[in-house]
Subunit: 369 residues, 2 copies
């Protein structure tokens, strides 16, 4: 399982495809009898659309969601039909006819996209589209006014539909009143698309309860180990582990200034390890000064500012045989996952994942493709 | 020059290689008679090491710096010798003999790297190394104590050297006393390496004055349009322009909540444009709520939280013929460059650049390779 990284790999991103598959299966079990899709946009949240989608397909996933037409085309090249691929952003002007050409189902987000699509919906290869109603997010999707006009004109019956979807704005906060409001609007509106697969919940929505599941759920973040129930313990298996090699270890005196801007003052003498990871690898600069890493399970704080290619940690309390050039320092592990890293960086686990950089040596484990 | 992006490109990153070449020439002129290298680590600060390094080589650059061995190998495949390539992080344990194999000059950052290198320094293909003295950054480089011991043991005469370098911690702040302290330490120490190219200044250091130039300057950020003199007007030409297509335009009522967490409340009715760019593209989530973009030169603020694939802007004040699906919204342009974006996102222009994502359609202009 996995392989040893080359000695020249400065930082190693270890991705557990088995954990992704297991996360998908546990979400599918939780949502059943609703069907379970998988969201693999943004290069499968930074983890690699190709290996991730193959592991998910082998686990049993038959419907994938991506954001853009380009992502849909790339995914289609990996998975022949009958694997279904839906494109959240729908057809940009001038692109509708590319959807049939690649066997992609567009999400139609407004009357303009519907009109563009109507011109090609009967083309060879055209698959039924998904209708997107905005129930309170005010991002993509038909407004309630546009929806009423659409229904009044009888357009919902003008073509077959693959799905009727909406998206929750506050599902990460189970107590937020907008969840129930959106669900009620969605329930009322879906009656106008009675024969059609209804889908409201993404990762967090699945955990709001059975009445949010409808016919299809669409997890993304939870597949990749992000906690879909903030405040509660994480029911998902961790997926991404990240470690960086120590380039140099240095002794510093009391009163020494460390890093850019001389931002850190050593209050006592100490030993610093400089590791081959920085914001140029997507390890956020905002991780300084709250961030930390671990060596042999022992916490080592970030010292001074994270720079483009290097980060500095205080390893004074670590056995020097562990904190030495060439040894690894753990940035993401079982104990300190994407959600804790995100809290220290002032963002969300989703952004920690999508920022994962290209310089990492990547190891994929837990799946034989 | 350049080409029209395909209609399906959601966001377009336009990189002016001519401006990079011109920035290099103006820095080289400013630093002359010191020689001018170029730093192209982190994929040339996110802009693409291959096209950027080719444009710089054609402009006359003969010495490139990268961070890691892997980057050095990739760059060597693009540029045969006598183009010189130096690797800042030096040899990680077990990798020293790869430097001669690829014609790379290591920077030696501590006694351990020196010992590793001494074993291969006389190998076929081995090029002289660069000695890195830490003069006050406390990141990579020999400490002053290690340096004194190194000199006392006569090791500075044990092999030929390509360079003697250090790095300034506070060069972005011309009034910081540490600049002069580091320069004085550097000046004193370089006397021990008299026949060797001395180099202290990166982008900001070049603007601290002639006595910071020594024999070689090593600009990175300034080549790519980052202001090397914060507080003063930017002497560099802008390099990166970024624009994203509008996917949908929607009317929203007073009192409507917008985006994740229902974080934005509309104080009056308005019109919103949802554009195909988000933190999954490296457009930082921290850009909400201060960030903005422009349509036809008119400022349009970010509304609510930036999401993975989409950002929402208030276009109420923009002519609807400009703010329509398929039209572009400008995220980085002449007026609002990487430094202003960084200020709104709470980071530095360097991180705005290195985070630039893979989903962008990239247009390179201003250079015929």
């Amino acid at each position: 399982m996995g392989s040893e990284p080359p000695v020249r790999a400065g930082a190693v991103l270890d991705i557990d495809l088995g954990a992704i598959a297991e996360n998908w299966r546990s979400l599918a079990a939780l949502a059943a009898p609703a069907e379970c899709a998988a969201v693999v946009k943004a290069d499968a949240y930074g983890l690699g659309m190709e290996p991730v989608s193959k592991a998910l397909a082998q686990a049993g996933c038959r419907i994938f969601f991506v954001a853009s037409l380009d992502e849909g085309i790339a995914l289609r090249r990996l998975h022949p039909q009958p694997i279904e691929i839906a494109v959240f952003n729908g057809p940009l002007p001038g692109t509708a006819r590319e959807f049939p050409a690649f066997g992609l189902s567009p999400v139609l987000n407004d009357p303009g996209q519907f009109e563009d699509w109507a011109l090609v919906a009967s083309s060879k290869g055209a698959l039924p589209a998904l209708f997107h109603l905005d129930t309170g997010m005010a991002r993509l999707g038909f407004s309630l006014r546009e929806f009423d006009a659409f229904i009044a004109r009888g357009l919902s019956n003008s073509m077959p539909w693959r799905g009727f979807i909406s998206h929750l704005a506050c599902a990460d906060d189970p107590g937020h009143p907008q969840n129930d409001e959106q669900k009620q609007r969605f329930t009322a509106a879906r009656a106008r698309f009675p024969a059609c697969t209804a889908s409201l919940a993404a990762s967090c929505g699945i955990f709001l309860g059975r009445d949010y599941h409808f016919d299809l759920v669409r997890p993304g973040a939870a597949l990749y180990g992000v906690n879909p129930q903030s405040g509660n313990s994480n029911p998902m298996r961790p997926v991404a582990r990240l470690k960086a090699r120590i380039v140099q270890v240095r002794e510093v005196d009391r009163g020494a200034r460390v890093g850019y801007g001389a931002a850190h003052l050593m209050a006592r003498p100490g030993r610093l390890a400089i590791a081959a990871v920085g914001y140029g690898d997507g390890w956020p600069r905002s991780m300084s000064p709250r961030g930390c890493a671990r060596i042999g399970g022992k916490r080592v704080p970030v010292i001074g500012r994270i720079s483009m290619d290097l980060s500095t940690f205080d390893v004074s309390a670590v056995d020097p045989s562990l904190a030495r050039p060439g040894a690894f320092i753990d940035l993401l592990d079982e104990e300190y996952g994407v959600d804790r890293a995100a809290a220290d960086a002032g963002t969300i686990g989703y952004e920690i994942l999508t920022a994962l950089g290209r310089r990492y040596h990547r190891i994929y484990r837990g799946f034989e493709g």
